[in-house]
Symmetry: C2
Subunit: 84 residues, 2 copies
C-alpha cells in the first residue's frame, strides 16, 4: 500500500471513529446541553447522502466508512433529542 492510500485510510479511520468517544460520553452522562441539534441533524443527513453517493458509484470503502459513522451519529442525535 503506498503512502497516499495509507494516509487516506488513516484519515478515514480517524474521522469515522472520532465519533465513538462522543457517543460513549453522551450515553454515559446524558449531558447533551452543549451538543448542537442542528449539527447532528445536518451531519446525519450528509452521511446518508455519502452512503447514497457510495452506492451509486459502487465505492465500498465510502459505503463502509459512512455506515459506521451513521451508527455513531444516529446514537448521538437520538440522545440529543431524548435528553435536550
Amino acid at each position: 500500500m503506498d503512502l497516499h492510500t495509507t494516509i487516506g485510510l488513516t484519515a478515514a479511520i480517524c474521522t469515522t471513529f472520532s465519533f465513538l468517544p462522543q457517543a460513549i460520553k453522551v450515553i454515559k452522562t446524558k449531558n447533551t446541553k452543549g451538543l448542537s441539534l442542528e449539527m447532528y441533524s445536518i451531519f446525519t443527513f450528509g452521511i446518508l447522502l455519502w452512503i447514497a453517493y457510495g452506492i451509486l458509484g459502487s465505492d465500498v470503502p465510502i459505503i463502509i466508512a459512512n455506515v459506521v459513522t451513521l451508527i455513531f451519529a444516529i446514537v448521538i442525535l437520538f440522545m440529543k433529542i431524548k435528553y435536550k
Copy 2:
C-alpha cells in the same frame, strides 16, 4: 452535473458545514461539558490527514472541504480546552 456528482457535492457541503452551528453554539454558550475532547482531538488529526491526502493526490475539492472543516474543528477544540 450528473446525479452522482450532485449527491456527492451536497453530502460534502452538509458534513462540512454541519460543524458551523456547533462552533457558533460553543462560542455563544461556552458550555463544552457535553463535548468529547477525545472526539475533537482525533477528528482534527483526521482532518489534517485528509488535507495531506488531498495535497498528495492534487485533489482540490478534498483540500477545500477539509480546510473549511478544519477551521470549525479547531474552534470547537480550542473552546473545549479553554472551557473544560
